[in-house]
């Protein structure tokens, strides 16, 4: 993460068009991609739960979606700041990609409302899994919205011709993406271990009563 910060803030050349504000790209895009990945992972674990009927996937799906929501919130915050720097507004309702990402984020926020409104058990696990699977349909729509809607406000960096940036910028982006993915993985493992330990302790306490 430290290397990524040094590359993004010091080493990477300044963008000729956007100036210094383009440096937000190195944190905003990796975080957005990680959020998509976490939501996708949550849906995959939900599919495993429904398919294999193994309860452990419920917790894994929940933690992945929780991570996705955290990274989704960060995407909205960093994106909003970048919008202010580049376009002079904090939010643009006319941009389909922004609105679709907000819809995706709110959809997964509602996942927690659904989950915590049901009694703990197999019914809650199955309902949460089905909801998580519905949400995954929004991911490609949100990701491809900019291309489908020909939105000119939000910039398109990765096209069919490859990344529209210099080599050093692309290396910085890759390092930042790896760092954010690693951070997400570590947070996922730590949260999952904490939740499992919590469940084990609860079971132990009940058996000792």
């Amino acid at each position: 993460m430290g290397v990524a910060l040094v590359l993004a803030l010091i080493v990477a050349p300044e963008d000729a068009d956007q100036g210094i504000s383009q440096r937000i790209f190195y944190i905003h895009v990796p975080i957005a991609l990680t959020a998509y990945f976490c939501f996708g992972l949550g849906a995959l674990k939900a599919l495993f739960l429904l398919w294999r009927r193994d309860e452990r996937y419920d917790l894994e799906s929940y933690v992945a979606i929780h991570q996705g929501t955290i990274f989704g919130a960060l995407t909205l915050v960093t994106g909003s700041i970048w919008a202010q720097a580049s376009w002079g507004v904090w939010w643009a309702w006319s941009s389909n990609q922004l609105v679709l990402f907000l819809v995706l984020f709110l959809f997964y926020c509602a996942y927690f409302m659904l989950r915590f409104s049901l009694e703990e058990g197999p019914r809650r696990a199955r309902s949460s899994a089905v909801y998580a699977l519905f949400g995954v349909a929004l991911i490609p729509v949100s990701f491809l919205a900019i291309r489908l809607a020909e939105d000119f406000i939000h910039p398109t960096v990765f096209t069919r011709e490859g990344p529209q940036m210099s080599g050093s910028m692309f290396v910085t982006f890759c390092v930042a993406w790896a760092a954010v993915t690693l951070l997400a993985y570590v947070l996922y493992r730590v949260e999952l271990a904490g939740k499992r330990l919590d469940l084990d302790l609860r079971e132990l306490r009940e058996s000792l009563r």
Partner: protein, 65 residues
């Protein structure tokens, strides 16, 4: 209220840093709670063991008799 480009870049990176810091603080608080609960359970198991061994000591002489 207008912000300079540098301030906005700093704000974006600071927002990520604060989010991660808060998350780590929450996880650390949870770990402290789990540690406390584990030691409470260990204490409970220890007390039960002591009680069980005392019961055995009480029962064994009467068996011999």
């Amino acid at each position: 209220m207008s912000f300079s480009q540098e301030e906005l870049v700093a704000a974006a990176y600071a927002a990520v840093f604060v989010f991660v810091l808060v998350y780590v603080a929450i996880i650390a608080a949870k770990l402290v709670r789990l540690q406390r609960e584990t030691s409470e359970l260990l204490e409970l198991v220890g007390r039960r063991r002591t009680t069980a061994s005392e019961e055995i000591h009480v029962v064994e002489p009467s068996r011999e008799a």
